[in-house]
Amino acid sequence: MAIRAGRQRAFRLNKRLKTFFENSWTELIARWILGITFIYASYHKIISPGDFAKIIYGYDLLPDGLINLIAIILPFVELFSGLALILGIYPLSAALIVNGMLLTFIIALSINLVRGHEFDCGCFSFGETGYTSSAVQLLVRDIMYFFLGLQVLFYDRCRRWCISQGR
């Protein structure tokens, strides 16, 4: 009897979660949070690519020849995918790009966390000299954004306020 009641509760919870994730407002909010975050994150990198290049150098993961190219291109990939998410232009592709970037950040942060390498993440602003954010906090935040990206990516119904549905 108790097992049956438990199964029913699990079934109801599962149904509620399914309804929540299939709700078009949930998808819209996830898409806009990601979009605004990435546009905001791109701003200071675009106006000050030299400082951003130094932040990339600080991660100590990329060959020297790639640092400047990444510093030039990455902020615009953030900007364009953020805009595409908000406006609903190729939302699937934009979510894929954003999650690709988030996965890269998560791997980079994890590597530096494991090897105890101190650095400035440079995510939203450039820290003062010697300023280091908590890598664990950054990691948790990026993982949360990654799940928002998955919501956009796996949502397969009609999206709200989209210029192109991208389905």
Partner: protein, 164 residues
């Protein structure tokens, strides 16, 4: 269809981003070179931005040479780091002139050291360009004999040279 659309979106978004990125980098006053100087053995690291302050010709890249200049007593060593870093430890006899507060302190500095003085700036090593920024500000004030000791306080301290 879904994957075809997604691939098309990826190509369009990434293509536009790359074109916009290189155009903006070319037009913006803070644009950077395609390849920077990221080898610390070659000097202070820099993205080689259009407004770059790093000037290789000013650099003293050997701690021993810096020590000789220091030993001659003819140069004023100027610490470009924050006042807190300076108070934690600095080259013995160095003057603190944090680069962010240059204009607050330069008049007092000038009253003590004329523009004919030999100045050696330093900060916290080869990943730091504050000493170069400070050197540029000194040139703007009319100082002509300015050098940058690029190994900074960590390099000096590592050699066991006088600190306080």
């Amino acid at each position: 269809m879904r994957y075809k659309d997604m691939s098309k979106g990826l190509i369009i978004l990434l293509g536009l981003a790359v074109i916009a990125a290189f155009t903006a980098n070319f037009l913006l006053p803070k644009g950077i070179a395609l390849v920077g100087q990221w080898d610390e053995s070659q000097g202070v690291i820099t993205a080689r931005a259009k407004d770059d302050v790093v000037d290789d010709d000013l650099e003293i890249d050997d701690v021993e040479i810096a020590k000789q200049i220091y030993g001659s007593g003819e140069a004023v060593f100027v610490d470009a780091r924050s006042r807190e870093d300076y108070e934690e430890g600095h080259i013995k006899g160095a003057v603190s002139l944090p680069v962010g507060q240059f204009h607050d302190f330069i008049d007092a500095f000038k009253a003590q050291y004329s523009t004919a003085s030999t100045i050696v700036t330093y900060c916290s090593g080869r990943t730091c360009d504050d000493s170069h920024k400070l050197a540029r500000l000194f040139f703007e004030q009319g100082y002509t004999r300015v050098s940058v000791f690029i190994d900074g306080y960590p390099g000096w301290e590592a050699e066991g040279f006088p600190i306080e």
